[in-house]
Symmetry: C2
Subunit: 334 residues, 2 copies
DNA sequence: CTGTTAGCGCGTTCAG
DNA sequence: CTGAACGCGCTAACAG
């Protein structure tokens, strides 16, 4: 690490001369500037961010706490966050809560030391279930800006980025109904989450609107990860089903495979719509029709909102809840 | 942000008294300690990491630069890194190069300012293709420790964590041969990478050893992401194939789907082994047999090696190249 | 036992 | 045009 001091000694000038020369201050003569700049280049001088941060009381870093990086959705949100942050010269520190409240708390504690300028979070399942929010309220008391996305809670007053979970599933279900499907199943491995419930209600709303009676048996709740295909096969064999909506981003894929294995034609015999995106749609054949949550957009928006708050602390903006739109992409001819 | 100064003023003692009391120094009397600690607790005091970092010339942060977070392999390595780093009280800053050399350079530059104590990297495809390594040599000159994983290069002398790409594919292919397969295809979307070539050579080695002649037509190179299934179907129809090995972590999945769509039984008619892990194996049915690179282990090892170097700068350890073992998991009865 | 001081690296006064 | 001094928050060496 080359420092201003080293450069100064080397050039036989004072530290502040070097500093000023590098920032093109009018105080410094042209040839001194040139000399300094060349030396800086040569020795690969870079201002120490710790020192800068200490001085300016800002880190140019945002903390991201997500429940699970192996979930494609969260990975893609992170993708969007990193990209947007970098564009504004912010770094991104990642913490993974592994769906545990305790990890969320400790990550928060570790980072609340002037290490980051603000947080972007999606709450862990455990935090949501227990309705614990004090760890985050503490943040807010410390005047740390925070933006929640996807896994949000009403118990917290802050900026939030969400999608219309109910509506997106409503649309998907309606699409299938219009396509002539009568026996539409609902599959989910996130029934324990509020967003899972919202998606279920969207499905129910669409059914109701078309006077299709809701049948509890057409709901498949996946819990353990073990042997999902077996439960799916049993489920498919137990009743007449001509379409499936999936509330998460893997069970739609698995359902297509289970259905095909049983000899059903997809989408002719059974049409499937799940959450996903272009890339994951390639994981099945025929490709899965999908509701795209536009995770990159979520990440981008969260980052922009956060940085706005960071850089204009005293802004009187009321906290906003931004509902981003999803898109429904139909694959294959149904 | 509560500071020592604020606490000191509040308690009518000096700053250093507070500092010492909090670190349980013998200098301080029991009751003073108690008073200080209670106040610190009350005001939620946390030492400012910027200040600490400046003083100790360390950030307790590691920089991770990976080509693509949406690739399950890299996501899982990051998972391992974050976990291991946290255990040693290090934070993780993530940068994504998007397979571009320029992004790699700029990420490196941004972070080489006393922002991180060291780097864990996997090189972008472009960097590897162009054989550019000067940006990293610059790092090393600045005495920044660095650990490379997976996408490494011989042109750099540093710690490296890799798997035995050739051997893992050799084992998989041999497994299929022993299973009686005669017409084994090789599918890959990473033929442009050195690790892709190594995996190909492992396949070839296994064939040779069993006196099966290598047939160029049995190699399917995927390039664009568009319509992979179409090329696969064409490929499968063009010749007799009874087994497939995939050199990456998606084409094996796609191949199973393509094969099943053509009416082949998997694995009876066509057996498939690809790179993957337990979770991704559930994305197909029957489940994909997979070579697990143990990405979490890779991340963990890389982190431990890096932190070792960071905390013992002058260590005379020669740079190590650690070859981690993979595991082959066979699914379904072949 | 407690307080004062110096210095980590930086930018920004303010004097010269 | 240049340099000395200060302070961000912290710890450690040194005085009292």
């Amino acid at each position: 690490m080359t420092t201003l001091k080293e450069l100064a000694k080397l050039l036989n000038v004072s530290i502040s001369t070097v500093s000023k020369a590098l920032s093109d201050s009018n105080d410094i003569g042209a040839k001194t500037k040139k000399r300094v700049k060349e030396a800086a280049e040569l020795y690969n001088y870079k201002p120490n961010q710790m020192a800068l941060g200490l001085k300016n009381n800002q880190t140019k870093t945002i903390g991201v706490i997500i429940p699970n990086i192996l979930n494609h959705f969260f990975a893609k949100v992170l993708f969007g966050i990193e990209k947007a942050a970098r564009q504004q010269s912010y770094d991104t520190i990642v913490c993974i809560s592994h769906e545990k409240y305790a990890n969320e708390v400790s990550s928060l504690e570790v980072l609340t030391n002037g290490r980051v300028d603000g947080f972007i979070m999606s709450l862990s399942a455990e935090t949501l279930a227990k309705e614990h929010v004090n760890h985050i309220k503490t943040l807010k008391r410390a005047d740390q800006p925070i933006v929640l996305f996807d896994r949000v809670t009403e118990k917290l007053d802050c900026d939030k980025i969400i999608i219309d979970d109910q509506h997106s599933m409503y649309e998907a279900t309606k699409q299938l109904i219009e396509n002539g499907r009568k026996n539409i199943a609902f599959v989910s491995n996130i029934t324990n989450l509020e967003i899972g419930q919202l998606r279920l209600s969207g499905y129910q709303k669409a059914l109701k609107e078309s006077d299709i009676s809701f049948d509890e048996n057409k709901i498949l709740k996946l819990t353990s990860i073990e042997n999902p295909h077996q439960s799916m096969i049993k489920f498919l064999l137990s009743q007449k089903i001509d379409a499936i909506v999936s509330a998460d981003n893997t069970s739609g894929i698995m359902m297509i495979n289970a259905a095909k294995d049983l000899g059903f034609k997809v989408p002719k015999d059974i049409a499937v719509i799940g959450f996903g995106d272009k890339e994951t749609s390639y994981l099945t054949y025929p490709q899965l029709s999908y509701i795209d949550q536009n995770p990159e957009e979520i990440g981008k928006t969260a980052t922009e909102i956060l940085i706005e708050r960071i850089e204009d602390k005293n802004q009187k903006h009321k906290y906003r809840t931004i509902k981003l739109s999803t898109s429904l992409t139909l694959k294959a001819t149904s």
